[in-house]
């Protein structure tokens, strides 16, 4: 029990260290004051507590039949081999008058369109260059017949034949206008994705409950995200409400819609009693791009979104050296942990490693040209090389804040916090997943810091990052 508290404390401590390093003590105290206000306001809101017991809606013996059409909209482009199963599951849904499937395709060259036809989907084709997350979904919505619209992605699969019925019941029973649900991980889901998905569910408060979302008392970034988070992986919404609001941003369009709805007094519901099968196993470079792009849109959605004050010359130094440090730690330190071992032993070894002070001389053999191909994709390595070539300004290493390393320490504590819930013992299998997730957390932090650098940086920084900016915006 004591161990549990020490670990949790350690995670929050690393988070605090990272925040102070990044934003300074003044900002930290401001955040602390704000968090205290939030806790106080949630105490007064308790009477309105919007949590519901975790029950399955389909438990109702006299389950009603919805005399409505649900229009399922899926934007597609080369949807892949599992697409047929997704359409099959959508067509198999029970308890609803009819299902209409609308595919908004932006240039598939595989069998996506052929499969869609086989499942009697209405197909809308748009040129690839016209695709945006909002445009394709709005276009689909304008061509629907049902009273309800269900937005899905081409890789999200209903887990059973009552899934849409359950979402619809959640929406109707709670008087909400839109519902999204938690994710059930696929068999190839990697540790990184599972950790971020777990953290997301915890932040949203749907790790063990369903939640009804409404306008928060204090409209800060955290409260708005917590209370306006819809997800287009699976989002069922009343058609008349959607057509009034529509999607409008090219990224995070679901969050933007959710926030506008709660701000206007509508209720939303997030369920974990029904889940959609969805997860990813993407390479580290994708997460770098994703985090980079996301920061730009979050800044537009939230007025008070914190942008990290960091100069590119300093960040460049941090990216290169942290990358080398990870290579050193993964190969020379983590790989020497004796396996299999109990999770507590693993936790202690990792904590000892990440809390050690490293000088840059130690890991010079693991420099930028060192290719740890087991965990790195070529794109990430090429990107780091590009960053290295961008600037020749020599940074005074003594003034370096070590922001990336602090952030990475916090991320590793987060991975360990997740792992303690499902692993009692660690073997080579899990260790490999653990090592790969460190690189992915590193990549996503790089994306976040680079975007901050671009947004808040000098004209000189912006100019230097222009090419990087265009590269990172592609394909997310």
């Amino acid at each position: 029990m004591l161990n549990k508290y020490i670990r949790t404390f350690s995670m929050y401590f690393q988070g605090t260290v990272w925040y102070i390093k990044a934003y300074g003590i003044k900002m930290f105290l401001r955040k602390l004051r704000h968090e205290a206000k939030l806790i106080l306001s949630s105490f007064f809101e308790r009477g309105n507590e919007a949590r519901r017991k975790l029950i399955s809606f389909y438990e109702d013996e006299e389950a009603s039949f919805f005399d409505d059409i649900v229009s399922v909209i899926i934007p597609t482009k080369n949807a892949g081999s599992e697409f047929e199963q997704i359409l099959y599951m959508i067509r198999s849904q029970k308890g609803i008058k009819d299902i209409e499937i609308i595919i908004v395709d932006s240039g598939s060259s595989d069998s996506t369109l052929e499969i869609s036809k086989r499942y009697k989907a209405k197909i809308i084709q748009i040129p690839p260059e016209k695709f945006t997350h909002s445009y394709s979904r709005n276009l689909g919505a304008e061509n629907t017949e049902g009273n309800y619209i269900l937005f899905m992605t081409q890789d999200a699969c209903p887990p059973n034949d009552t899934w849409i019925y359950e979402l619809l019941s959640a929406l109707e029973n709670t008087g909400s206008v839109a519902v999204s649900c938690a994710e059930f991980q696929r068999s190839d889901s990697d540790l990184f994705y599972r950790v971020i998905s777990w953290r997301h569910s915890r932040i949203l408060g749907i790790d063990s409950n369903d939640r009804i979302l409404k306008k928060p008392v204090i409209e800060d970034v955290t409260s708005l995200r917590k209370n306006g988070q819809l997800s287009d992986v699976a989002c069922l919404i009343m058609k008349d409400v959607f057509l009034k609001y529509k999607h409008r941003t090219n990224y995070a369009e679901d969050l933007d819609l959710g926030i506008r709805l709660v701000r206007d007094g509508f209720k939303l519901v997030l369920v974990s009693s029904a889940k959609v099968i969805h997860s990813h196993n993407r390479d580290a470079y994708y997460y770098l791009k994703r985090e980079f792009v996301e920061t730009f849109f979050l800044k537009d959605i939230f007025k008070n979104f914190d942008i990290l004050p960091i100069e590119f010359s300093s960040l460049r130094f941090e990216i290169i050296n942290t990358y080398c440090l990870i290579n050193y730690v993964v190969d020379d330190k983590i790989s020497t942990i004796e396996l299999p071992c109990k999770f507590d032993e693993f936790y202690n070894s990792i904590t000892k490693i990440i809390n050690s002070e490293y000088t840059y001389e130690i890991f010079k053999n693991y420099g930028i040209n060192y290719q740890n191909k087991n965990y790195n994709d070529e794109n990430l390595l090429a990107f780091i090389k590009k960053i290295m070539e961008l600037n020749s300004v020599v940074v005074d290493t003594s003034s370096n804040k070590g922001l990336l390393i602090a952030k990475l320490r916090y991320s590793i504590c987060l991975i360990l916090e997740y792992m303690k819930g499902c692993y009692e013992e660690i073997d080579e299998h899990m260790l490999e997943d653990f090592k790969a997730s460190i690189y992915k957390f590193f990549a996503s932090s790089c994306g976040r810091f680079l975007s901050s650098c671009y947004i808040a940086g000098t004209d000189e920084d912006k100019d230097m990052l222009k090419e990087v900016y265009h590269e990172l915006f592609k394909g997310v």
Binding site: L54, I55, S56, Y58, E59, Q85, Y88, M89, S92, C157, P159, N160, F184, Q185, R186, S187, S189, R194, W198, S273, K275, I277, L339, P340, Y418, G421, C422, Y423, E424, E425, D427, H429, M430
Partner: protein
Amino acid sequence: MKILYLVEQFNPDSFTDIEVFTYELCLMMQKNGYNVKIITCFSSYNTCNNKRINKNHFVEFIYKGIPILNLDGKEFQIKVLKDLIRKENPDVIHVEYPFRTIELIKVTKELGIPYVLNLCDKYLINEHIKAIDHSFKDIFFSAKKVIALNLSVKKSYEKYFQDLKITILHEEVANKNFLTIEQIAYKYERIYRIKDSKL
């Protein structure tokens, strides 16, 4: 949440259908944040170089991320089995082949831990029919859920347990040829997680 899987045999060297299924189900539950462990009565573990013998003479090893505890065909006193389950402290126990792990289920029931019975084949009930007494019946009727592999297995058991509610979970696989391990695991998750749920 911790889930223990009781399976008669678990041989990494030579898998049969039920073992493959149990392993994949365990892996899916672990991927979804559950703490899982397999307890087996028999296991060959020649290819697992990480085996160790604990103080109760159970053999423990990890097979591709899943911890296995092997009773190694030995008969243990009820007290030892009770201590074992108590130490593992699971929230729910999933049983494959109930007849072959009957002592462990009895202990589970005594400790008040909810358990799910997976009925895998119909031959076993015919084989064990003479041994079915009140305590056996009680084990079936006290389960959180009793699941049959298919209609034929369900009917075989219903002959002996007329009022027992048996759910067919896997039949859809055969009928529609379309359920994935994710969809099957999702069904089990609901059984483990949601109180008295239907599927």
